[in-house]
Symmetry: C2
Subunit: 494 residues, 2 copies
Amino acid sequence: MSEHTEHTEHTEHTEHIDVEPCGAAEVARWDVTTDVIVVGFGAAGSAAAFCAAEAGAEVLVVERTGGPGGAAALAEGIVYLGGGTPIQTACGFEDSLEDMYRYMMAACGPGPDEAKIARYCAESLGHFDWLEARGVPFDPTFCADTSMAPTGTEGLVYSGGEDAYPFNEIARPAPRGHLAKTKRSTGWLLMQHLAAAATGAGAAVSADTRVDRLVVEDERVVGVQAQRFGETVSMRARRGVVLTAGGFIFNDDMLRQHCPPLARGTFKVGTEGDDGRAIRMAQAIGASVRSMYAGEVSLPITPPRTLIHGILVNGKGQRFINEDTYMGRVGQSALYEQDGEVYLLVDEATYEVNWMGLAATWVCETPEQLEAEMELPAGSLRSTLDLYNEHAARGEDPLFHKGPAWVRPLVPPIGAFDLRIGPAPYAPFTLGGLETTVDGAVLDVSGRAIPGLFAAGRTTAGVCAFGYASGLSIGDSTMFGRFAGASAAASTSG
Amino acid sequence: MSEHTEHTEHTEHTEHIDVEPCGAAEVARWDVTTDVIVVGFGAAGSAAAFCAAEAGAEVLVVERTGGPGGAAALAEGIVYLGGGTPIQTACGFEDSLEDMYRYMMAACGPGPDEAKIARYCAESLGHFDWLEARGVPFDPTFCADTSMAPTGTEGLVYSGGEDAYPFNEIARPAPRGHLAKTKRSTGWLLMQHLAAAATGAGAAVSADTRVDRLVVEDERVVGVQAQRFGETVSMRARRGVVLTAGGFIFNDDMLRQHCPPLARGTFKVGTEGDDGRAIRMAQAIGASVRSMYAGEVSLPITPPRTLIHGILVNGKGQRFINEDTYMGRVGQSALYEQDGEVYLLVDEATYEVNWMGLAATWVCETPEQLEAEMELPAGSLRSTLDLYNEHAARGEDPLFHKGPAWVRPLVPPIGAFDLRIGPAPYAPFTLGGLETTVDGAVLDVSGRAIPGLFAAGRTTAGVCAFGYASGLSIGDSTMFGRFAGASAAASTSG
C-alpha cells in the first residue's frame, strides 16, 4: 500500500529526543522554585494542578504550547462515569458500581489493571461531583441515536458497547458516557472549566515552555529543565513533579518500537505534543512502562445507527465482530487483527451515507458479482451472507451475537463500504505509558515509587490495558490527575 | 477457564525483583576485576565470551545456575542461516541473501528491524563458518517430513513457512533451519561446543552466581553486583558488561505488564532464569526496550504432516490461516488473535494421532452433528466446510492459499482435534527486550549507546519484531552475541 510506504518514509525523519536526566549539582541557578511542577496543561494536568493548589502547595503548570487544552480540548469530551450518577438517574437508568466494575474488568483487558479499575469505580460518583463543583455543566438528557458525541447538548450516551455482546451478559448495561452541556466541542468546554479551576485555585502557568529533562538529586526528582524561547530554564519543585504531557501517537519511532500497527493510523488523535517525551524522561531514570502495545482506534462508521443492520467483513469475506459493539472496538480489531482490511455490507433498506460522507463504493445484484468487483475470494461473501441470512431470518446471530434489533436478512442488491486504511480514516491514540500507583506515583522497574515523581493521563498506563470505552481517557486523566496532584502536594523530601 | 484462573492466582506470588543500579562509590571492595563480564552462559553468552576472549580481553562469564546451557540447551537447536550455506548447497537447494532478506522482512514483522535483518543476512554465511569452526557438526542431509527438529541426524529443515503462502510469493523458498548433527537434543550439542569454545578461548566462569545490579560510574557501566552462596559479590569490568541472560517468559508480572496473552501459555519455553532481570537492570539505568508485546507460541500440531490436509477453525468455526505455514505462526495467531480457541478438522483419509498423542476429541457423521457436539454456532462448520470443499475439489484455497498439495475435500465423517488452551499445550517465549545496535550496544531512551553496556539474545529485541521462524533465536543469539562480545572487548572508558 502506497499509503503505508509513504508513511514509513516520512517517519524516518522523526526528531531525535534527548531526555537524559540532569543532576541537581549541574544546575547552576534555579530560575524558578515552587512546590509542585505540573508538566502539561491538558485534562490530567489541570486536575493535578487544581488539587495540588487546593492542598496548599505552590503550583506551576509548565505547558509547551501557548495555553491550556491538550488533546482533551480537541476531543469529543466524554467522561466515563457510572454507579448511579445524577445524570444517569435523571435519564432513568439504574447503574451500580458493581456493574460498572464488571464491565470495565471485561472491557479494559486482556490483562486489565484490577487495582486501578477498582479505584476508578469507587471514586466514580465523587468524581462526578468534583467535575460539577468545577463548574462543568451536564444536561440531564440521554442521546440514544449515536455512538459518538451527540449533535445536541445531551449529557449521556452509551460509549463502550455496554448494551452489546458480550458486555450485556457480563454486567447490567447502562450508559456511562457523560458530556458537558454544549453542542459538540464538549472537550473544549470541559477544558475551559478545568483550566480555570486550576488557575483559580492559584496555580501559575508557564506557557510556551517545553520540559525536556528531569532534575534528580539523591534519587529524588527535584525539578525539571525546560526550553523557553530558546533558553534553558531550570525549575525546582520542593515537593514533586507531575508528568501529564500526553501519550506518544505523534512519535513514529516509539510507535514502531512498541506498537507497529498504530503507525499505520491515518488520522492521529492528539496534539503534536503527544511525542512521548514525558514517558521517556521518566524511563531515563528507570521508570517502568506498561501496555505500550495498546492503542485505541476510532473507525467512524456510525452514525447513522441503521448501518449496524449491515455486516462487517474482513479481507477473507469473513465476519469478525458484532457490528453493534463500540466502534472503537471495531477499529482496534480492524487495525490490529484484520490488517486494516475491512468492509461493511449493506442492503437498500439499510443503506445511508454515513456522517463523514462515506458511501458504498460497490453495489451489485448478487454476492458473487460483489466478490468479483471487490476482488475478494470467490464464494466468500456468498458463504458469509448465506449463513448470516439463514440465522437472521430468525432474528439470531449465533456467531457474534449482534442484538436482535439489528439482525435481519440482507436482501440483494448488496452494497459495500470500503473501510480499508486509506479510503476510511483510522484514528488511533496510544494507551500505554508509565506504570503508576492508584495515587499517581510513578513506579520504577523494581516496583518502587520514584521519590518526587508523579504522573497521570495518557503519559501513564491507565485503566485500559487494551480494550477501551469512550470517556475513559478523560475519565482517568482527570481522576488520577487529581490524585497525582494531591500526592505531589503531600510529598516531602524528608 | 480454570487453567487460566489457576495460573493468574499463582502469578500473584511472583518474586519482587530489585534491580536498582549501584554507584561505584558504594562498592567498598571489588571482589573480582576483569575486562569483560558476560552475564549468562547460554547461546548468546558463550558466543560473546568466546569473541571477547578471542579479541584479547580477560573475560568472566557469570552464570546463575551450575553450568552453561541456558534455554538453548533445552531447545530443538535450530540455527536460521541461508544465502547458500554448504549444507543448503549439499542438499540441492539454491538460496540467496536477497531471498533470505526478503523472507525475513516479511516474516519478522509487522515493524521488522531492517538494520538488524540486513546485518543478519549479510553475516549469515560467515556465521555458518564460525559455528563449524567452533566444532559444531552439521549433517548435510535434508529432512522434508517435519515442521520441527527431525528424529534423525538431518542438518536442514524448513523452519519458517518459507515454502507456504505468502512467503513463497515474496521470496524464493529455501530451507534455512540448520541443526547440529545428533538425534534430537541438537541444542544441547550446540551448547556443548559453544561453551567449550568460550572456556577454550580463556573465558573464566563463575557459576551459581546471580547478577542483580549494574554498577555505574560517571554514566558508564563498570561492573555488576551478584549474589553467590548468599553473599554479595562486586565484580568490576574494565571494558564492558554483556547482558545475555534470557527473556522474561518466567516473570508473570512482566507478562501481564507487556504481553498479557503470553501469560496464558501453559508450557513456558525457557529456564527459570528467564525472569527478565537483565532487561530490568538495564531499564533501571534508562535503557530502551522494544517489541515487548511480541512472543513466539508453539502449538505442536504436526508431525505428521498429513494433518495439514485438515483445516484449522476458530471458536466461530471460521478458518484463520493457511494450515501449511509454520506452526509457530499458527500458535501466535491462536493465542494472540483467536483467544486460544482453535480446532483442527480432519477426515478419515487425513487422520492420524499426532506426535504428542493428541487425537480427535470429536468424530461425527455430519458437520451439523459436529457443530452441536463441539458447541460451536449452528451452521458454522457446515458453511466453512462447504466453501473449503467447493474450492478444494479444484485443488484451490483462494481464502488462505494453502498449497495445492495439501488441498482436497474433507469427506465426512469429520473429526476434530481440540486445540484450545488446556487440551493442547501452548508453548510461548518472549521476543521483546533491550534495544541494541547491530554491534550489540544497549541504547538508552534518547537513542544513545550506554557506555560499557552490551547485550544479545532474548535479553534483547532481536531480528523478530513479532513474526518468527524456528532458528532465529539461536541464530541471533549466537551472531549478535559474537558482535556484542567483540564490542565489549573493544570498549574503553576513554
